[in-house]
Amino acid sequence: MYPFIARRLLATIPVLVIVAVLVFLLLRITPGDPAAILAGDAASTEQIEGIRKTLGLDQPLPVQFGIWALQMVQGDLGESYYYKVRVTQLIAQRIEATFSLALVTIVVAVLISVPLGVIAAWRFGGWFDRFLMGFSVFGFSVPVFIVGYLLVWLVSLKLGWLPVQGYKRIDAGLWPWIQHLVLPAITLSVIYIALIARVTRASVLEALGEDYIRTARAKGLPESKVLVKHALANAAVPIATVIGIGIALLIGGVVVTESVYAIPGLGRLTVDAVLARDFPTIQGLILFFSLIYVGVNLLVDLSYVVFDPRIRY
């Protein structure tokens, strides 16, 4: 297993290099000049040109890339054009909010969707199964921001139970932290509940048709044990895969959720950086997200060994 992990970790290097080159080039061919944005509405063409020089944007592309690559090798993602702060510092400031939201979302989604999927498979064709499938279609179809606004209107404005917006750091207390995460996490988890429940249902349904399930039942095992210990355990690999994909997809999902609930996280930072053409921040964030993707995929691969002892690396 260790050589496998080492190989996978080494494989991240070319992935990151390719991502770095692509992102760098894509940003340079995208219309929009960071200098013009920084200068403000009333700035003159001379002022914009001056800022371009200060930022080094007047240098040839290979020189700009070389400077950035050198910084990156030293573990420095550069300085934000927009905020004049190191990109690593910006990411550090925002990471807690995004990770909190992602973590709570995934926990909520898994805790709800896996049992629902198992029950739907167990009661295949019944009203619960049909209800869950209907909910899945709803979960996939309704945009995140609509769910968000509806929940805010009902839970915050009409019932007054939870705050409308904002984020409290966990060191401000567990309750304020949870209070500010409940609605965003529910909002964001709807689509993941739909996705994971559907995959769980399909996987468990397939497992329930296997001979070993018939054997387990013939041995007189209680149905709950048959479902959890035999069917669910054997269906775990595709479920783990889809949860892993879900974590990766969350990065995109948090952008909208963080906007609707005014959470100062990485999603919001990405949007701001793109709108401001803040090249170092966008590049740094995408590299950071790439690392997370690679890390999550590696963890998912490793989890297969736990769920299915037949798998060896």
């Binding site: 219309p31 929009g32 000049d33 013009a36 944005i37 920084l38 200068a39 403000g40 509405d41 009333a42 700035a43 003159s44 063409t45 001379e46 002022q47 914009i48 001056g50 800022i51 200060t54 934000s80 927009y82 905020y83 004049k84 702060v85 910006l90 400031q93 925002r94 606004y149 805010v152 209107w153 915050s156 404005l157 007054g160 705050p163 409308v164 917006q165 904002g166 984020y167 906007s259 609707v260 609930y261 005014a262 959470i263 100062p264 919001r268 930072l269 701001d272 709108l275 401001a276 053409r277």
Partner: protein, 525 residues
């Protein structure tokens, strides 16, 4: 054992909640600004958020009151020599920087020098200035090469770039570099450690600030602070979420009420919606370098077709919030006259069609840049395109995000090579209310500072004459002459005025909504 643990836990919880209780005793005003605060140097950028940040922590030599009159602020007294070339100023007693040092004439001289290198009006003033020097500890002198009629107006200009006064060591930062220290002498102290870009900016009351005795008015008068802390919520930028947070009482003020939410907030019993006293102007700018707008007759045809009402109805929609105005300097201001505006204010589609025929227009398409992500101006290009089509022009309406637009408008290339013919924008009145600061009026061809690059020697002469005139009555007439010439050569098209509503909880008192900038003194909760 369990009981003991519980008691310890309760003790720790009680101890840790003590500072929270103290913090809650402070009066905190939570504001949702109109945009994100990123750049903390209000001289380096013209961004309005940076300007508003400047008003929190810096003071100004002069301010502009709600009637657009310049009033002394840091300055106590001043004299002008008989030949109108030497201005001597004395600063008020008790002015102090946030780090405890006194404000001196040297600080002022350094600050004005840096501002003069960045700001358009400051730059115009510097063409008249021979030298700026400190006189004693609390005075400074401006010596001019020749008389200028806008010295005090420039020093008291309320909008970007505002001549904020900074300590000498900070003001000596090269003008093309951003400052790195944020020490002012204004009513609030910037809490740099608590600043999180895109999340929040925190300002605390500067307890040693000595306000003027006069009543606060605009950016002038006594800047009295009645709250302990002002927090700018920079994360809350979704309009619907802003409105929800205000209704729920999670924030005290939102600076920018979208027109579509205006009625909702007006009806809310706990919210007060206010209109700013001084408004904004929409304008569409021609690119004078390329066909068809390098032809004055075509530009005049467009002016004749640009009835302001359709622009305002489409963009604002709420009749209470807009009004057509024939002046390029905005109505209700000292120079807000209608002189020479007939081509637009009394224009018609028939006249536009006739002018276009007479222009020899060859069917060159007009590239209009339309920002799709800026709801405050995104309908203007649609209306402009429709009116121009009716007049007989071919129009190529190109959608893009605002940041692409601001980058592209700086290009002087032909439209087919990535340039442009027209874009529309909005200006706050104080940025365009006279012939010196109105960015659309300089007409020096390709060297014109603002995009569009008109060229007209006569207009430049008239602007220069206005700058040199010191008699106020004559200046009004001269501003009319500048405007008449600008309409004649069609530098740009003003397409109506509006006020941007703001909203706050009814528990807020003394809130100033003058519209010159967003300022947070005189306010209590």
């Amino acid at each position: 054992m369990n009981l003991k643990r519980t008691l310890v836990a309760v003790g720790i919880a009680a101890a840790s909640s003590a500072p929270i209780a103290l913090a809650q005793a402070q009066t905190v005003l939570t504001v949702v600004p109109h945009s994100n605060l990123a750049i903390l140097d209000p001289i380096w950028t013209t961004a309005y958020m940076s300007r508003n940040h400047g008003y929190m922590i810096y003071d100004t030599l002069f301010g502009t009151d709600e009637n657009s009159k310049i009033q002394p602020q840091m300055v106590d007294t001043w004299t002008v020599s008989a030949d109108k070339r030497v201005y001597d100023f004395k600063l008020r007693a008790g002015l102090e920087w946030h780090d405890g040092a006194p404000v001196t004439g040297e600080d002022v001289a350094a600050s004005l020098a840096r501002w003069g290198k960045r700001d358009a009006m400051g730059g115009a003033l510097m063409t008249f200035v021979d030298k700026i020097e400190a006189v004693g500890k609390d005075g400074f002198r401006i010596t001019l090469k020749e008389p200028a009629g806008f010295v005090i107006e420039a020093l008291g200009k309320p909008s970007s770039n505002v001549p904020f006064i900074m300590p000498k060591r900070i003001a000596e930062t090269p003008p093309d570099k951003q400052i790195a220290e944020y020490i002012g002498s204004g009513p609030y102290v910037f809490q740099k450690d608590e600043f999180k870009p895109g999340d929040k900016a925190v300002y605390t009351k500067f307890t040693k600030y000595v306000p003027r005795k006069e009543t606060a008015s605009g950016t002038a008068g006594g800047k009295r602070v009645h709250v302990d802390k002002v927090v700018w919520n920079l994360a809350l930028r979704d309009y619907q979420a802003q409105v929800n947070a205000l209704i729920k009482g999670e924030v005290d003020i939102i600076e920018n009420v979208p027109f579509q939410h205006y009625e909702t907030l007006v009806k809310d019993p706990n919210v007060e919606v206010r209109k700013t006293k001084i408004g904004l102007q929409y304008m569409c700018r021609f690119n004078h370098l390329h066909p068809p707008f390098n032809n004055v007759k075509v530009r005049q045809a467009v002016l004749a077709s640009f009835n302001q009402r359709p622009f305002l109805q489409a963009q604002v929609g709420v009749a209470d919030l807009y009004k057509p105005c024939p002046s390029m300097f905005t109505c209700g201001t000292p120079y807000g006259v209608a002189t020479g505006s007939d081509i637009q204010s009394k224009g018609s589609m028939k006249q536009a069609q006739d002018l276009l025929k007479a222009s020899g227009y060859d069917g060159t398409p007009v590239v209009i840049m339309k920002p799709t992500d800026l709801s405050s101006i995104d309908k203007l290009p649609e209306v402009a395109a429709q009116l121009m089509r009716q007049a007989g022009l071919k129009v190529d309406l190109q959608a893009m995000d605002w940041q692409t637009l601001v980058s592209r408008r700086a290009k002087k290339d032909a439209p087919k090579d990535g340039g442009w013919n027209m874009f529309c924008t909005a200006w706050v009145s104080p940025d365009i209310d006279n012939p010196v600061n109105n960015a659309a009026l300089p007409a020096r061809g390709a060297s014109t500072p603002w995009f569009g690059w008109p060229e007209d020697a006569k207009l430049e002469e008239l602007r220069r004459a206005f700058m040199m005139e010191t008699d106020e009555k004559k200046k009004i007439a001269m501003a009319g002459a500048v405007q008449a010439r600008a309409f004649e050569v069609a530098t740009h098209a003003p397409v109506g005025e509006f006020t941007q509503p703001l909203a706050g909880r009814k528990t807020i008192k003394g809130w100033m909504t003058h519209g010159l900038a967003h300022t947070y003194w005189n306010i209590s909760k």
